[in-house]
Symmetry: C2
Subunit: 345 residues, 2 copies
């Protein structure tokens, strides 16, 4: 098995990406294909000469790079020789089992859609992000969608729930995952017309739907998968990160502002550090774009080497669970049950 | 000046509401009208006999109570003698300068709209909530709307920005308030079609528009006022509260889990407590429903006596700044500039 990695994508590319890939080799049997500017990659790899199994990392040269500022669809159409598009094409051509990138999210989504195509029955793919539950050590929730589709229909949300449930079950072993709907009240009459419809679709589905989940409940929700449109999901994901990060920063500043406090800080430092680790999004791997015919993972734009390492190792494990095959057969059942969404192909 | 307070609304009513009102008397010259079941109010007031200026609190008996479970519009139409509706009517009839309630938000919004009516030029009123910026002591941002309108047009958002700017300036003294648009990317091409249109409307307005603000930036935004639809605003407000609260809870649990840590905890206890105060939403007062012809404030459902006290005192101060008059004249200017929104009256 080979994992294709966009070596040029992300704020810390190629350094952190390549360092993370090398570290990942020790944690998995899969090999890695680094896609990007060959000279840059070789120069970076040279730093680790003799420190890794060199025959397990292949380089595929890509002339171009898609920047964060590039318009997604246009970039995918015009930059055919970009590291991002070429890595996706390796999955399409069966040369890699999965691909991952910390680059332009919109372009990754566009490349996944245009180059791999949708799974039959899925109208819109979704980005599925994991984030830790606060105060529930080791527990996490999957959020779908977190940015692929700013606007959604109720049927989109239902398909996100199916895909999220399958991914949660097959990639993380959760039996009969609990599905929640992000909303502004617990009653089924709350929210927009779309959300009221989505509530009814989820309620009458064979999913383990536990109802609406309000903003205040999200950090400790009982749900294993939360569904929402990509606008809401993106706000939820980034706001949670922003609030948690700022609270930690405030505490750090507070406990170092004078000597008395510093004494306490020394004692508590380890405690706080272990707490901070609980918030560490990087340990949950990349976010798959589910609904396309191939495993594509979005890594956080500012991924560190450790985050890349976790994402690559997790991607290899997920591939082995055949999540795509499971989604395909589930969608077939879904369609046969007459729940096909409008415009689905 | 008199402030009408719904004595029966909220999780801690009437106890916390009445305790807060009595405490507020010492901080303002305005008097208070408690609206609700007279016997219940008298019994509660009796606890404070001799401890407050009794002639500054009037009781207006209201037979009925609107419950949280009640359907908003129906409740307002059928429960004419409820404490919430009667308190709004006191504003309508000029018997009170402002009213406040910690009860059913939807019903409060419906009562404000149906009993007071909209300000000319405002299509939809907005709930405007204040919340503290993290790590910027004493600074806060106003968020509009936080729940009155789950679905909005771009013109709605523009009017929220105008009203938020006026409220920020007149109630809090901020000159030329900076306006931000909650969105999933900083570029003006990001977000839904509605948000792209709102971005352009804000950009070409005479407001001090500083652009899109992403989820991660919200906790420390440079904006004085953030605008969004009521669904997004409600999620942002409650999620921020939920994450901050849970992080504090985690730290508290962590530092008390063993003896060594307890030693540190003793030293840091005061520090953390003062930090927690910075998050204290209750010190910012109630959230006005702007855009109706009267001052109506929504208090948090679980308001403590201190929160009620702050809200009542703040409401009296805001009334004196004639925010409604300012909105009316601004809307007149807005309409004369040809920016009238469709269907606005």
């Amino acid at each position: 098995m080979k994992i294709a990695v966009d070596a040029m994508g992300g704020d810390n590319a190629p350094q952190a990406v390549i360092e993370g890939c090398i570290a990942a080799l020790g944690d998995m049997s899969a090999d890695i294909v680094l896609v990007g500017k060959e000279d840059v990659i070789r120069e970076e790899l040279a730093k680790y000469a003799g420190m890794y199994e060199e025959d397990r990392i292949e380089i595929v040269h890509a002339d171009e790079v898609i920047e964060n500022e590039d318009s997604p669809v246009k970039a995918v159409r015009t930059k055919r020789h970009s590291s991002l598009v070429m890595a996706v094409d390796m999955v399409k051509e069966g040369k890699a089992s999965a691909m991952m990138s910390a680059g332009n999210t919109g372009a990754l989504m566009a490349a996944a859609l245009l180059r791999l195509g949708r799974i039959k029955g899925i109208e819109r793919p979704a980005i599925v992000s994991a984030f830790p539950k606060l105060g529930k050590r080791g527990e996490f929730v999957l959020l779908a969608d977190t940015g692929a589709n700013a606007e959604c229909t109720a049927h989109n949300l239902l398909s996100f729930a199916y895909m999220g449930s399958i991914y949660r079950h097959h990639a993380f072993g959760t039996e009969n995952p609990a599905i929640g709907l992000v909303n502004i009240g617990s009653e089924e009459t709350k929210g927009t017309a779309m959300l009221k419809e989505a509530h009814q679709l989820l309620k009458t589905s064979d999913l383990n739907f536990i109802g609406n989940v309000e903003g205040r409940e999200i950090p400790r929700t009982d749900a294993d998968v939360l569904v929402c449109d990509g606008f809401t999901g993106n706000i939820v994901l980034k706001l949670t990160e922003g609030v948690a990060w700022n609270v930690f920063k405030m505490i750090k500043e507070k406990i170092t502002e004078d000597l008395t406090a510093k004494l306490g800080a020394l004692i508590l430092k380890k405690k706080l550090y272990s707490l901070k680790e609980e918030f560490d999004y990087s340990s949950y791997g990349g976010a798959p774009i589910l609904g396309v015919k191939g495993m594509v993972f979005k890594m956080h734009g500012s991924s560190s080497a450790v985050a890349v390492q976790n994402a690559v190792v997790k991607a290899a494990a997920v591939y082995e669970r055949d999540v795509i095959g499971e989604i395909e057969s589930s969608m077939e059942k879904f369609r046969n049950d007459g729940a096909e969404n409008d415009g689905a192909e």
